[in-house]
Every structure is written in C-alpha cells, then in structure tokens.
C-alpha cells in the first residue's frame, strides 16, 4: 500500500510499474487520474490551490483504503494526492488498484475515489477572472459515495 500527500507531480506509468514489479500474481490494475480543469461553474479557472488538514488527511486516506481492502480482494493500492497551487491540465490525484481480476480492481478504484471526494479533508480554491473562490461541495459527490453504503 502506498498513500502519499505531496506537492510534486506524479507519473501514472511509473506508479503502475512499481506496483507490478517483481510479482506475477496480479491479473488486473485499474487506475484513475483526476486533473485540474480550466473551467468550472461557468467561469475560467487560471489556477487552483489545494489545502488539506495535515495528519487527518493521511489518516482518512488510510482508512478508506482499509475499507476498500475489507470489501474486495486487493493485492495493492496506491493513492497520491497533491496539495498546493496547480495549473489547468496538472494531475491532482491518482488511485491505482491491483487485484487478481478486473471486477475487483474497477470497483475498488471507483469506491476509493468516491469516498475520497467526500471524506478526505482537502479543499480547493480557484483563481477566476472575478477573483478567488472556494469550491463548494457537490450533492452529486455525496450521492456517488452513498451508492457504496450498506443497504
């Protein structure tokens, strides 16, 4: 398992290579990369700054990875989330999940992202032509996370 919060960029290929290096039991790796966009809520975004809660962030990410491992048979998980100032096109977050079969890798990758969006203490502030603004949480993100709740 690898969980990292940092300002530096990451390379998806390198992370996936590291995950599979030296082992032949992995049958599937599913990955997700979230990127900073140049547009949000109808206005241009020149840059964004990501703030987090040091200490709780790592704890929250660790807990949601553990939750994923308790639901699916996972062989490895990597989560990298960037903080600081990012420009449009910059990668923000990476989730990669290794498993024996694709179904578990796909599901766990989506689950981790949905939970991360609603449980990990990060906040985005955007620079727009009208000035700076904090991004508001979206009800659709809560709905996406709720899909995974027990019935």
């Amino acid at each position: 398992m690898k969980i990292v919060v940092r300002s530096e960029a990451f390379d998806l290929g390198a992370e996936v290579d590291a995950m599979r290096r030296g082992r032949t039991d992995i049958g599937a790796i599913a990955s997700f990369v979230g990127l900073a966009r140049d547009m949000n809520e109808g206005s241009g975004v020149a840059a964004m700054t990501l703030e987090h809660y040091p200490g709780m962030t790592e704890k929250a990410l660790g807990r949601l990875v553990e939750e994923a491992k308790s639901r699916w048979a996972l062989l490895d998980v990597t989560v990298i989330h960037r903080i600081g100032r990012l420009l449009p096109g910059d990668p923000i977050v990476l989730v990669a999940v290794a498993s024996s079969h694709r179904g578990e890798a796909f599901a766990a990758c989506e689950f981790i992202m949905d939970y991360l969006k609603t449980r990990a203490p990060f906040w985005k502030k955007e620079e727009t032509p009208a000035g700076e603004r904090w991004v508001e949480a979206r009800a659709s993100d809560d709905a996406a996370a709720a899909r995974w709740d027990p019935p």
Partner: protein, 83 residues
Amino acid sequence: MKLRVLYFARLRERFGVAEESLDFAGATVADLVALLRARGGVWSEELAGGRAFRVAVNQDIVAPDASLPDQAEVAIFPPVTGG
C-alpha cells in the same frame, strides 16, 4: 477542559484564525459550536443552523452530539472538495 481548535479553508479565512486554545466548560460538539456561535458576527453567520460545516474530533469526523475529551484536537471546516 482544554481544547485545541483548528479552522480550515473558507472558515479559517472568514474567522481570521487558523488555531486557538480554549478553556471549555461544555460537554459536546454542539456545546462548543454554540459557544463559538455566541461570539456573533462571522461566527454566528458561518455556524448558523442551516450552514454546512463539518467537525472532526482527534481527526475523526463526528456528529454534533459527540462528546469532547479533555485535550481534544477539534477541527471545524467546510464540506471537503478534494479529488
């Protein structure tokens, strides 16, 4: 009891404070929020009943009726927007 209270993101900016130490006579998160709200101004505005904010105690998000242990690290922040 003594509490360390942290504020993040929009709330940190609006309150103009990132962290403070409080001597607290109440018992629960709701008691603490009521105390802060009573400061008036931006405090009563941002922590009003209908406003969305989250409270973490010792780095776990909790419900308003959660009790506060002595020396707790309490954080108050807007709903998260990472990813």
